[in-house]
């Protein structure tokens, strides 16, 4: 049984599955990309062929355009695709809508790339499914024991309490456009907030995709200057960067909130001038990371990005071997990174002539070969 280290390798382009001829979440254009989820640091344009869950494909196409990659192929939960000697399937990761773990089996050994994930319940996406494996590849965004996310419903409760105490002010909550925004709306609805939720223009497109994928978000309205009177006492969602911009002047004496796992640490909240920090994250916290490692039972855990040293130290004490992949290019969008999501970098459309980098030669036809769902997921 070949050790996964012999067939799954961190290369500058991304994690390469050599016998399968594809990369997982490549950061540079490649021939074949398996994408875990649609955040811009994991789902980049310029690949020849992309395989992902149906919802991830829809989100990617809405964000990047249908021309961003040449072919798109959807793979449903648990469906198995054979690529060379590799059996490939996707299982939910619970991070955002469509987010998947990539399960790969090669000659009896199994590796799971979890992508970004969380274990807390989220009404807007399928819950994480633990898959026993020989190597578990994990993120480590919040891998310090100070990060223990409280129940998200309690944090939403604090937002609504503040709204009740300051009914004449606008509560504006900074959140990332894909995932966090829709989760906040769903949490607000679950808490009984049935009034309109107002959105900064940058948040609307992803909400439309969520709705098209069957996630009900209720009455959403643009937070335009024309709506100024309605914004008094309302709840507005906006990208974190917009709160300090001219845009925010339409708001009535705003209470500035921010929904992020980083809000757990006071200094982080203070630096951003946040008045109402809400500790709501789409990433696994310290306890979830450790519990997940134990649950999948892998003797070896690879850490892609984040604070790997603490996690490797902690699992090492339980007899699990940790390995830091130190992969660059992840953690640019949502909690994993800085304040504002970067715009997708413009790239030339891929040429049919072959991979831009040293990706393996294309298989026959340049697509994904046989599979249950065929080519092109439009």
């Amino acid at each position: 049984m070949p050790h996964p280290a012999t067939w799954l390798k961190p290369l500058p382009q991304g994690l390469s599955c050599e016998p399968g001829g594809f990369f997982v979440d490549p950061v540079r254009p490649v021939d074949r990309a398996v994408v875990t989820h649609a955040h811009s640091d994991h789902a980049r344009p310029g690949h020849r062929a992309v395989l992902a869950s149906p919802a991830t494909l829809a989100l990617m196409q809405a964000r990047l355009g249908e021309e961003a990659c040449l072919s798109w192929q959807a793979l449903g939960w648990g469906e198995v695709l054979r690529l060379g000697d590799v059996l490939l399937s996707l299982q939910p990761a619970g991070h955002v809508l469509g987010s998947a773990q990539v399960v790969m089996e090669y000659r009896g050994s199994r590796a799971v790339v979890s992508g970004d994930y969380k274990r807390a319940p989220d009404p807007t996406c399928a819950p994480f499914v633990p898959v026993p494996c020989d190597v578990f590849v994990t993120e480590a965004t919040f891998a310090l024991p100070v990060f223990r996310h409280p129940p998200a419903a309690a944090e939403i409760g604090r937002l609504l309490q503040s709204r009740a105490l300051f009914p004449e002010r606008t509560h504006v909550v900074g959140c990332y456009s894909l995932g966090k925004c829709q989760r906040l709306i769903a949490l607000l609805r679950a808490a009984g907030w049935d009034r309109p939720v107002f959105l900064h223009g940058a948040l609307a497109p992803m909400c439309r995709v969520y709705e098209a994928q069957g996630v009900r978000l209720g009455d959403l309205r643009p937070a335009t200057v024309a709506a100024k009177a309605e914004l008094v006492g309302s709840i507005v969602l906006a990208p974190p960067s917009a709160v300090g911009e001219n845009w925010a002047r339409r708001l009535a004496e705003p209470v500035v909130g921010m929904a992020s796992g980083w809000m757990r640490v006071r200094q982080r909240a203070k630096q951003g001038g946040v008045e109402l920090p809400l500790v709501i994250s789409d990433h696994a916290d310290w306890d979830e990371l450790n519990a997940t490692v134990d649950e999948v039972g892998a003797p070896e855990v690879w850490v892609t990005h984040g604070r790997e040293e603490a996690l490797i130290h902690a699992i090492g004490k339980r007899g699990v071997t940790g390995r830091a992949l130190r992969m660059l290019g992840y953690g640019d969008e949502d909690d994993a990174g800085g304040e504002s999501p970067p715009a997708p970098s413009p790239r030339p459309p891929p040429s049919r002539g072959g991979g831009a980098d040293s990706s393996p030669p294309p298989l026959e036809g340049g697509g994904w070969g046989e599979g249950p769902s065929g080519r092109g997921a439009r």
């Binding site: 310090l144 100070v146 990060f147 409280p150 105490l165 925010a248 200094q267 109402l276 603490a310 902690a314």
Partner: protein
């Protein structure tokens, strides 16, 4: 404890005064006695005890956490109490978090040796936010930015406007945590707490700034004039039950000025200015600053920065409330009292003779001596009225000095101004060590201009940003601001070596190239005592 922790959590992040008052009011409304009173004492700094040193917390953490994980976490969070609050391993004890009153009572009575075990039990039954509040309370590191005045305004709101904040002020120093009688009075279920002869603060009478338009309406015949001293306003209260020295904000600052308290061998309530005085000469404000905000004073400080009080009014003589008397009568009582008692470290602020308003203007323009800010004008027939009544007292500050400085950094405001860069750091040129010229920051000022100018500065900052540090932007060194200030004083705390008193931006000088802005040496020439 849960409600108190939630209050702290919000207060720490809330910059706005009105929002803080609303948060306090809700806490008072929704928290039962005696917890709310203990909470009131805690946020206003009246519970100044440190039951444990940080070492106790460190030891507890060491016993419960992995040392390497603790080191990484502490390194990341940067605050010991917060690190422990966040990473304390959760134990499902099923017990409720302790009440605030229980915590404070236990801290005051438990033997020192029992403390680590008690604290560990509390931490086990709490969530991170309660743990943080607990640890800060235990180590005396609770800093929430709530003045006692703010808490009194919130209490006044709790009464639904029936009781003013000034009335609460009058009884404040006669009540103690958990303030049961005070809350009962505010909620209309009990009588006004009787302050008896306790040494209480009495709300101050304040002056209006004299505007140019006011000059014509002044009647020199009824006006009295004094110098406006650049110290801090204090109230001296000495009754048979005790002696206290209060700041303008009703904070008890007696411990910082023991020599004044010692000299208060009388029964009266007096109003005056606290100054550093050497051989009868008033020292610059920077000297007085060395004595402010200290809990304990050393013999060296007492020797090097000797303070005195320059008296200018009397509110009570013995038990007699003389506030309804006209100023002239109070002044006569003050002078008689002073001649009789001759308290050490005190004198009486001189009255300045004058004939006409023109005389006053000339006096004010000539007031360039250190530590004189300008003139105080008081009507001879004015009673002592708390607050800022119209048409009785005026302060007439000397014209400000100005300097042309270069904008260096800008920071966003809060609330309505949270999207505007409205807080500016500016600097002056000086020779750089490496040759050439460099800018050194000399001060910081909030906006003091029209909406149009605010908009202009905000756009300018956004268009000329060269660096970002959290909420602060560094800008191109290209915009000249005319900065007005009342005085410049030597300072060892500032990189430039000089501190400005009351700096404000008076004009935007788009007409002036940055290279032609003033040099630090120019400012140094007007530094007091230089």
């Amino acid at each position: 404890m849960i409600a108190f922790a939630a209050l702290l959590e919000r207060l720490v992040f809330t910059p706005g005064r009105n929002a803080k008052i609303a948060l306090l009011r809700r806490y008072f409304e929704t928290t039962p006695d005696p917890d709310r009173g203990i909470g009131l004492a805690a946020v206003t700094g009246a519970l100044a005890f440190a039951a444990a040193k940080p070492g106790l917390i460190r030891d507890l953490a060491a016993a419960r956490t992995d040392p390497e994980l603790f080191a990484w976490s502490y390194d990341y969070v940067g605050d010991l109490a917060e690190t422990v609050a966040l990473m304390w391993p959760t134990v499902a004890t099923g017990e409720k978090a302790p009440s605030l009153a229980e915590v404070v009572h236990t801290l005051e009575t438990a033997p020192k040796g029992a403390l680590p075990g008690i604290v560990a039990d509390w931490l086990d039954t709490s969530d991170p936010s309660v743990r943080f509040a607990l640890l800060k309370l235990i180590t005396g590191g609770l800093r929430v930015g709530v003045s006692s005045r703010l808490a009194k305004v919130a209490l006044a709101e709790l009464s639904g406007g029936r009781i003013g904040a000034d009335e609460i002020e009058e009884v404040w120093h006669g009540v103690a945590p958990p303030f049961l009688s005070l809350f009962a009075w505010a909620e209309g279920t009990g009588p006004r707490p009787d302050p008896d002869a306790a040494p209480n603060f009495r709300p101050l009478m304040l002056a209006h700034p004299l505007e140019p338009g006011d000059l014509a309406g002044l009647d020199p015949a009824v006006l009295r004039a004094e110098w406006k001293w650049d110290g801090i306003r204090v109230q001296l209260v000495a009754t048979p039950l005790g002696r206290r020295l209060f700041s303008r904000g009703a904070d008890d600052i007696s411990p910082a000025f023991p020599e004044i308290v010692e000299a208060m061998a009388f029964h009266a309530v007096l109003d005056g200015e606290l100054l550093v005085l050497r051989d009868g000469v008033v020292a610059p404000f920077a000297d007085l600053q060395q004595r402010l905000n200290r809990k304990i004073v050393t013999a060296k400080l007492l020797r090097e920065f000797p303070v005195a009080v320059r008296l200018y009014d009397m509110l009570f003589e013995g038990a007699e409330d003389v506030r309804p008397l006209p100023f002239d009568a109070r002044r006569a009582r003050l002078e008689d009292f002073f001649a009789r008692t001759r308290p050490a470290r005190m004198d009486v602020s001189a009255m300045i003779p004058f004939g006409t308003v023109e005389d006053l203007a000339a006096l004010r323009d000539g007031a360039r001596a250190a530590s004189i800010e300008g003139l105080m004008l008081k009507r001879g027939d004015s009673p002592y009225v708390p607050g800022r009544p119209k048409g009785l007292w005026w302060k007439w500050k000397r014209d400000p000095l100005t300097v042309d400085a270069v904008l260096m950094y800008a920071q966003r405001g809060h609330g309505k101004r949270s999207s505007f860069y409205s807080d500016f750091t500016f600097g002056l040129w000086r020779p750089a060590e490496t040759g050439g010229e460099e800018l050194v920051p000399v001060g910081k000022a909030y906006f003091g201009f029209s909406d149009a100018e605010l908009g202009f500065l905000d756009r300018w900052v956004r268009a000329h940003t060269v660096g970002r540090f959290g909420p602060v932007r560094e800008v191109e060194k290209a915009l000249v601001l005319e900065v007005a200030f009342d005085a410049a004083q030597f300072s060892t705390r500032h990189r430039s070596g000089v501190a400005l008193r009351f700096p404000r931006i008076s004009r935007i000088r788009t007409d002036k190239p940055a290279a032609e802005a003033d040099r630090l040496a120019t400012l140094m020439r007007v530094v007091e005592g230089a």
